[in-house]
């Protein structure tokens, strides 16, 4: 009676210091994804120590954080951003690492392209110097973010030293209402357990509402596991998983495919497996979610209001809320629907896949963004997502509605390139973090689903997307 996490863990143990389940264990890494921000120092130390990557074909690299999302024919104009991207290119060329360069149609956000290419497969351990590596757990694999020292450690040894996590099952049962998405589930969960609720745990999402989600939805959910404090989130393998992977460039074929599928079908928690903690949510109760503060747990439903700190008994909590409202420029008790917006961002590794773009396009089709919206961006997660969306005509829907249609990358999710909020600007964003300054110094971020961001763009303020189901 093992949980999915137990199965994945025990499959990868190379060496354990002792039988004690709490001891440091050497874990084998199957897939190492690399991007430009957290890798240069790792490559440099590796070289200084005279070491070489252990297994080159486990590595896939891409630049995503610093790349411009506008015309790329002139390269990157910010010299420091350019240096970082050039450094990645150089390191990959020198060592013979597979990399999708900036002008490759396969380039995109690392957490979008891994699954898209079939480079993320069930049963793998997947790491990347990026906390949102949890995304890949949607495929029934053990995927988690690491720091730069660990990037170097994996490069040099194909292993990581780690401790086993506790297990948490978050079960969402029932049917989601129209217009309710995986993003709303994720935010509702974080609202429930808090941003530290998952600390020390690996979370498995289960229940009928999760099984009904597409792979895109499952990725959105696992992507946000880190926002709940968990290093890893995962979903069991089923037909939806297997159908998604079939035929992708890095996926096995022929006999190997059949063999792989037999194994992948074992990747679920046993019926009698015991988790350290279990949380249950009723899917029917989940409404469209909007964050109002500077942490993803500061969230409420669209029909809610901004909290009133004077009603909060706990001094620390009251202080946090006051600080957040001050930064966000919001008055207590303001209905969420009355919050006026300046910018809209549809993108990021949370919500930039084809299904996200379709959901947003469905809402804006034939309409135009409100006069008070200064800028509305759609940034596809990869060149291939962009291409597919263009084939479906989604770009035209967005463009005629007044949106900008951009090249793929992280963009305004963290504003390391030129896409950012000015101080005081308020944005409905489909990304995953609403921390102070995340989308630009002084910028104010409200996290929502793609459909909710699209609806807000049309109205100029938050609205309940369910009212658009006419």
């Amino acid at each position: 009676m093992q949980t999915l996490y137990d199965k994945l863990w025990s499959q990868h143990v190379v060496h354990a210091e002792s039988d004690d389940s709490d001891s440091m264990t050497l874990i084998y890494i199957d897939r190492h994804l690399v991007h430009e921000v957290t890798s240069p120092q790792a490559f440099e130390s590796l070289k200084l120590a005279g070491r070489k990557p252990w297994r080159l074909n486990s590595i896939l690299a891409v630049a995503d954080h610093n790349v411009p999302t506008t015309d790329r024919s002139h390269g990157i104009h910010d010299p420091i951003s350019r240096l970082q991207v050039d450094t990645l290119d150089q390191n990959c060329d020198e060592l013979g690492i597979t990399e999708f360069k900036m002008n490759d149609v396969r380039q995109g956000i690392v957490h979008v392209i891994g699954p898209e290419q079939g480079a993320t497969l069930p049963g793998m351990t997947v790491v990347c110097g990026d906390s949102h590596t949890s995304t890949h757990g949607a495929f029934g694999c053990l995927a988690f973010g690491i720091g730069t020292s660990e990037v170097e450690h994996v490069l040099a040894t194909q292993c990581l030293l780690m401790k086993k996590s506790k297990t948490m099952q978050i079960s969402v049962e029932g049917d989601l209402g129209w217009g309710i998405t995986a993003k709303d589930i994720a935010l509702a969960i974080i609202g429930e357990i808090g941003t530290a609720g998952g600390t020390g745990y690996a979370i498995e999402f289960s229940g009928s509402a999760i099984r009904a989600l597409s792979m895109e939805g499952r990725m959105t959910l696992c992507n946000m596991a880190i926002e709940a404090g968990a290093r890893a989130g995962m979903v069991a393998v089923d037909d939806i998983t297997i159908n998604y992977i079939k035929g992708r460039p890095f996926a096995p074929q022929g006999e190997l495919w059949d063999k792989a599928v037999v194994y992948w079908r074992t990747l679920h928690s046993d019926a009698d497996a015991i988790f350290d903690r279990t949380v249950t949510l009723d899917a029917e109760q989940i409404k469209p979610q909007v964050t109002w503060g500077t942490s993803p747990e500061m969230v409420t439903a669209i029909d809610g209001t901004v909290p009133d700190p004077s009603h909060i008994a706990d001094e620390g909590k009251r202080h946090d809320i006051e600080q957040a409202l001050n930064y966000m420029g919001l008055r207590p008790n303001t209905p969420i629907r009355q919050i006026m917006l300046d910018k809209i961002f549809i993108g990021s590794c949370t919500n930039s896949r084809i299904e996200d773009l379709r959901a947003a396009a469905q809402i804006v089709n034939g309409k135009h963004i409100a006069a008070n919206i200064k800028q509305a961006l759609v940034v596809p997660g990869s060149g291939l997502v962009k291409k597919q969306a263009e084939q479906e005509g989604l770009d035209q829907i967005f463009l005629s509605a007044g949106f900008e249609w951009r090249e793929p990358g992280c963009s305004m999710c963290l504003a390391m390139n030129d896409d950012r909020l000015a101080a005081g600007e308020r944005c409905a964003s489909t990304s995953n973090r609403n921390f102070e300054g995340r989308q630009g110094p002084g910028g104010r971020t409200h996290l929502v689903s793609p459909a909710m961001a699209a609806a807000a763009a049309i109205a100029g303020h938050f609205v309940d997307v369910r009212e658009m189901n006419q």
């Binding site: 190379v14 060496h15 210091e17 001891s23 440091m24 050497l26 084998y28 199957d30 921000v37 957290t38 120092q41 130390s45 120590a49 074909n57 954080h65 910010d78 420091i80 951003s81 240096l83 970082q84 450094t87 497969l121 049963g123 793998m124 110097g129 990026d130 906390s131 590596t133 988690f144 973010g145 720091g147 730069t148 020292s149 660990e150 450690h153 040099a156 040894t157 292993c159 030293l161 780690m162 401790k163 530290a196 600390t199 404090g229 290093r231 890095f250 996926a251 096995p252 190997l256 495919w257 792989a260 194994y263 946090d320 963290l414 390391m416 973090r433 921390f435 102070e436 300054g437 110094p441």
Partner: protein, 212 residues
């Protein structure tokens, strides 16, 4: 990595929960391809009144006098006292690098985010978890007593106050061993190179599609 020796150092209190990695080191500074020099931009948005960009001369920038690390009494602090869920957010090791580069050697909090906690050990910065009651006590002490110093003894897993109150903390035995001896984890892992190769071979036989 340097060996971690017992030391006595000045404490600075950062009285906010959920301090995230974007606050510890804002993203514009992540564009560096170096490991050092991040200390001057630690908590940049709280510490300075102007907006910081890479390459600015910190001595020409206007400090925010309200921010705790700018107060004269906390200059030279080596121990940061923090609140729950410190270091949440990104996996950027730039966050521990900047704390260490600034001069911190120890961070005490009731809880830390997982990746941040783990990253600290890799560079020889010691994160210590003490219970909320103890952390409350220390916040009171550091705010009311000038030049409040604590002794951190990793060998004995103890934080010792000026009045010789001792607070013990847990630390993983392997991590403690690495810190006390300044060991390189990669070197240690490579001692198991044969085992890794055997494991890899077995895996290649059983799941060949992973090695295509």
């Amino acid at each position: 990595m340097n060996k971690f020796h017992t030391f006595t150092g000045l404490v600075a209190p950062l009285d906010r929960a959920n301090v995230d990695t974007d606050a510890i080191i804002p993203k514009q500074f992540l564009k560096s391809i170096k490991r050092s020099g991040f200390g001057q931009n630690l908590f940049d948005e709280w510490r300075y009144l102007d907006h910081g960009e890479p390459g600015m001369d910190p001595s020409k920038r206007e400090l925010n006098p309200e921010f705790v690390l700018n107060k004269p009494r906390y200059q030279g602090a080596e121990i940061l006292l923090a609140r729950a869920n410190f270091g949440c957010g990104s996996s950027r090791e730039h966050a521990p690098w900047s704390l260490q580069d600034y001069g911190f050697r120890v961070i005490i909090a009731p809880s830390f985010a997982d990746i941040f906690f783990n990253n600290c050990f890799k560079i020889g910065l010691l994160p210590i978890i003490l219970d909320t009651g103890t952390v409350d006590y220390l916040f009171d002490a550091v705010k009311t007593i000038d030049d409040y110093q604590l002794t951190v003894d990793l060998q004995n897993q103890a934080v010792i106050t000026p009045k010789n109150k001792v607070f013990n903390f847990d630390v993983d035995a392997f991590r403690k061993h690495c810190l006390l001896n300044g060991l390189d984890e990669i070197g240690l892992t490579l001692q198991h190179a044969e085992k890794i190769k055997q494991f890899e071979q077995k895996r290649r036989n059983e799941q060949p599609w992973l090695f295509a």
